[in-house]
Symmetry: C2
Subunit: 212 residues, 2 copies
């Protein structure tokens, strides 16, 4: 892929106190470099070190602004939602409440029109551009499915996690993207009451039996 | 919306036997006119008569090629899948098997790469262009949700049907569009065994209780 180079930034001089405008510029530069690295190499092979190199800054500076790769990825895609952080909180609760707390967390986050439209744009881009699809694929597997799988513990746990993701993507598209009625106008509480148990069953239900 | 007019076709002369090339041209003309009518007026207000008028053909000729509006809509969007027909077959079976037969029908249809890529393109277009979203919205409500609701019979049946649609859209996007793993490589049978019960619960499960 042909990605233009970022102009390397001057190394931040240690002698002078940076203003917040300075640090915003540096941050933007790192994010721009990250977007290019992810686009070229995909999520898995991109490293914080490689991003620092492309941005022309010290790796420590990258780590100063962004604690981990997932955070930089979210920033580079202008994704205001951090599904990995939501998941971390959800997974701390009891295993038989994951479905409902996940549904609640998703629906609550998607109340924000900015979050909603950016998440939809991301799926839209993923359906149109293969490299975006690849990044989403790698990100969800590494940061979401594997963590959920570890918590669930069954052999098919990653498949279960990916089915949960499919249900959430479908909710995002149908309720907020295409805005199918009456789903689009339904109460958040009603949606949580109907989708929560489904997510829970996908994660821990016995396959071959039937819910309900 | 500014939609170019279709050149009216010469009325088919009754005196001569049409070749199949002729009828393909007429059919294409009707489909082009339908696409324009749907784009201008949406699914609900577009009529077979209006399409015939725009195409410059007799309404009987439109009905000769296309039995109903849903068929013309599918043709105008180059949708090779007729969800309304799939649904008709599924609804003929017992009510407590709708989820599983629907899941089976969807997964089987989506084995065809052409069907798959066109369904994905349709969602992609729906997320990018409001008039496509409007058409999808109207089509699914009239041809799918209301029919399912009639079969299910509860007061919240249309909401249930729209949640089923959300799950199917999510499966389409995650398994075949973004191709999230391990869902993308999972067996059709395995997917049906996991998604079928979910669809069934969404349609007939007791809300407030928990599946499983």
């Amino acid at each position: 892929m042909d990605v233009p180079e970022v102009e390397p930034a001057a190394k931040p001089s240690r002698g002078r106190r940076k203003t917040s405008a300075d640090s915003q510029v540096t941050k933007d530069l790192i994010v721009a470099a990250a977007a290019q690295e992810f686009a070229q190499g995909g999520y898995d092979t991109t490293s914080m070190r490689g991003i620092a190199r492309r941005a022309g800054v010290d790796p420590a500076l990258v780590h100063h602004y962004f604690a981990e790769k997932a955070e930089l990825f979210a920033a580079s895609l202008v994704v205001p939602l951090r599904p990995d952080l939501i998941l971390r909180v959800v997974l701390e609760g009891p295993a038989d409440a994951i479905g409902e707390s996940l549904a609640r967390a998703i629906v609550t986050q998607l109340r924000d029109p900015v979050v909603r439209s950016r998440m939809i744009s991301l799926i839209h881009a993923g359906l149109g551009q293969e490299f975006v699809a690849t990044m989403i694929r790698q990100f969800v597997r590494r940061e979401l499915f594997r963590r959920m799988a570890k918590r669930i513990g069954t052999e098919d746990a990653e498949l279960r996690a990916s089915l949960v993701a499919a249900q959430i993507v479908g909710l995002l598209i149908a309720r907020y993207g295409i805005r199918m009625e009456p789903l689009s106008s339904a109460d958040d509480d009603d949606v949580v009451a109907r989708v929560g148990p489904v997510l829970q069953w996908l994660l821990t239900g016995e396959v071959g039996t039937r819910p309900g």
